[in-house]
């Protein structure tokens, strides 16, 4: 399988309930003592674009191998898009929307 460079969106109780009701809880994984996380995969070119669009973010190559330090508002938009499309494969659409402004 090709290497991915994911973005982790951590899910609170409220969102978890909403996702369960919408039948989308399958989009989540459990980590760290039962915390729910939505792991949005990125390809290498998508990762590079995200880091360019959001310079405050960084790719943590040392520990998590994921894109970190994205502001909450950015992750909120990504979360909303994944829920709307009912899939985690939303990075192309997300990047296009950000580039369009």
């Amino acid at each position: 399988m090709a290497e991915t460079f994911p973005i982790n969106i951590w899910i609170n109780e409220e969102r978890f309930k909403a996702l369960q009701q919408a039948g989308l809880a399958g989009l989540l994984k459990e980590e760290l003592a039962g915390m729910k996380v939505m792991i949005v995969p990125c390809t290498e070119p998508q990762r590079d674009k995200v880091l360019k669009l959001f310079p405050m973010a960084k790719y943590d190559a040392a520990t998590t191998k994921s894109i970190e330090l994205l502001p909450k508002q950015v992750k909120d938009k990504l979360y909303e898009l994944a829920v709307k499309r009912k899939t985690l494969s939303v990075m192309d659409e997300f990047i296009k929307a950000v580039e369009k402004g």
Binding site: I9, W10, L32, M35, T64, S66, L69
Partner: protein
Amino acid sequence: MKLIGHGGKPLVERVIADKAEARKKIKGMKEVPANRQMATEAIGIAYGFFSPIQGFMKKADVDATCKKMELADGTVWSIPIVYDISDKEIADYGIKAGSTVLLTCEGNPLAIFEIEEIFTYNKEKMAEAVYGTKEEKHPGVARTYAYKDKFLGGKITLVNEPKVREPFTPYFLTPRQHRAKFAEKKWKRIVAHQTRNVPHSGHEWLMKHAYIAAHGDMPVEQMESMGKAISGVLVNCIVGEKRAGDYIDEAIVLTQDELRKSGYFREDIHMVTMTFWDMRYAGPRESVHHSIIRTNLGLTHHMFGRDHAGVGTYYHSYQAHHLLMSIPKEKLNITPIYVLEWAYCPHCGEVTCIGLCGHWKELQKFSGTKIRSIIMDEVKPTRLIFRPEVFDVVMDSAKKYGFGSPFVTKEYLAKAAPAFRIDPL
């Protein structure tokens, strides 16, 4: 009473506490403004955090530090403490070897600097020796390359003590004050937890592990009564230059203290203080420097975990341990306690040491980055991995001190008041 510091040498204390005497001493002295980095180091030198050095290092000490990891007299030393200056400043202020000047900070008197030597040093060689790399993206290397072209070496005497602002005021103690606190608490063994982090349960268990290891063969009966502990954990937070994305210092200090206030550590075995030091991220060499500082604070043990003071992928996980192990015991008067990671095991349903748990494939490792990500998403973590009281203090610190964020932002860097200021004398 004469206190003994690193290298078995007297603890350095070069401070004129009497203001009238200080004013008299500095009268007519040429003033040289020190930037924040240099002011921080001058304060560290004068209070003895860096004993036995008495001032900014001269070339022989810098050279021995780089090449042999010791001072010119053979005392173990790992990071050069240097005062950089440009040729223009040397000319403008008429600085010469043998002259004595008054360093100022924010326009106010700070310290007397007896300049014994003006010298140059190859910055690339210095960086490579200390950091093991010449890459400028390493923050310590970048700091070294940013030094101006000349260095001044000579003794420092503080004439105007820093005013530490809230909420840090009760946490700043000099080495002498640390030792007085330990004596008051009747602690015989004290283990340092070096931190620049808000604590998750993994950190908490590292401290508990280190505490038990440090207490070792000491009696335990008296600990059945609260207030009778004879060993302690000192959480010594490093407060200094920050990078965007770091936790704000206020959140670090206050959350560490919250662990005791909320009872995760007993009142009589845990204490939080802070030390002014700009992290160099020198990994193994910085672990030696931290040992030196904590020896000077009067500690008997020092905990070292995975990738101590490292950055990126420059050092392997336990490289700091290996360097410390290579130093003869009599040369570093503090006992290192090497600790493995603690992780959450869903099978055991608890936080456990990765060296103890047999459910190796199921372990969910703590990652500082992951915890930051959870906090950034404003999701309250489960109490097994992050204490709820600590989370509340993080969020409260963000509101009170971080302009809405518990992490260093451009706004924080631009607007937050420095941890200490120097008032008119």
